[in-house]
């Protein structure tokens, strides 16, 4: 049973293979069959719209990092919630199962209030 676990995903693999084949096929076919008459205007990065005026590789504000970091932390918290929710009715004294998750969430809720209070998410 362990050994054949992956074979249950064969349809998904075939689906991926088809997706790659169709997507890649379109690109390949259009490279060979498409008409090409390039001119400088046509191959510029933005054919219409604003003219690029500056290198895009500039430093971002560190607050983006802070938001991404906090997103990961609370993402992980939610991941822990998922199997707990699936199993909830099977905990023997159900109230203990409830309390243990309550403690976990309380600690992170404390962290969340801390983040808000410190103004780490203010964007002014």
């Amino acid at each position: 049973m362990q050994e054949s676990a992956i074979l249950g995903y064969l349809p998904i693999l075939i689906f991926f293979a088809l997706a790659v084949a169709i997507g890649g096929g379109m690109v390949v076919v259009s490279t060979f069959l498409g008409r090409k008459n390039p001119n400088p205007e046509k191959i510029s990065t933005y054919e219409c719209g604003m003219v690029p005026f500056k290198d895009a590789r500039q430093r971002f504000d560190v607050r983006f990092y802070l938001v991404a970091m906090l997103f990961i932390l609370f993402d992980i918290e939610v991941v822990f919630l998922y199997p707990w929710a699936v199993l909830f009715t099977r905990f023997d004294p159900v109230i203990f199962g409830f309390v243990e998750m309550l403690l976990f969430i309380f600690v992170l809720l404390f962290g969340y209030i801390y983040v808000l209070r410190k103004g780490a998410l203010d964007w002014s």
Binding site: Q2, I6, R59, W84, L108, G111
Partner: protein
Amino acid sequence: MGLESILFYYFAIVIVATAALAVSRRNPVYAVLFLLPCLVHIAGLWLFLGAEFLAAIQIIIYTGAIMVLYLFVIFILDLGSFRTKRIIHQQKSLAIAGGLALIVQLVVLTIASTFPGPFGPPQEVVSGGNTQAVGGVLYTDFLFPFELASLVLLVAIFGAVVLARKESEETSS
């Protein structure tokens, strides 16, 4: 060689190759982008063990959240100045020798060892899928580490706020 072995070697080779590319690229953005297929294929390896939950987590956390974080970190760095510099100076040969010795040792010892076989979670826990199996041990036997994990996350929150808040204040003032 059955279909399964072919699939396994496909995943294994892609993981090793993309990991090597991620380490060797000079441009950090390329390195991170090579990490992406690496992490996705690791999720594939989880499926070999019947660990669907872990595969899903791998995709959600690593290829979702952590990749975004890596990219943000790279955007925060000033890349223009650092792409041209060599990071490792004189210790390259020493590092290569040490790394090779470690790899040889790992490979030799791993080949020489025999593995008793996969240990699943206790049978009474497994009824349903991998999610139930993970949860079944996580919220009972491993309750203490589980609660500790919340403290580790709390420390990470403190760290993110304490260390990253400085610059935002400096730029605003």
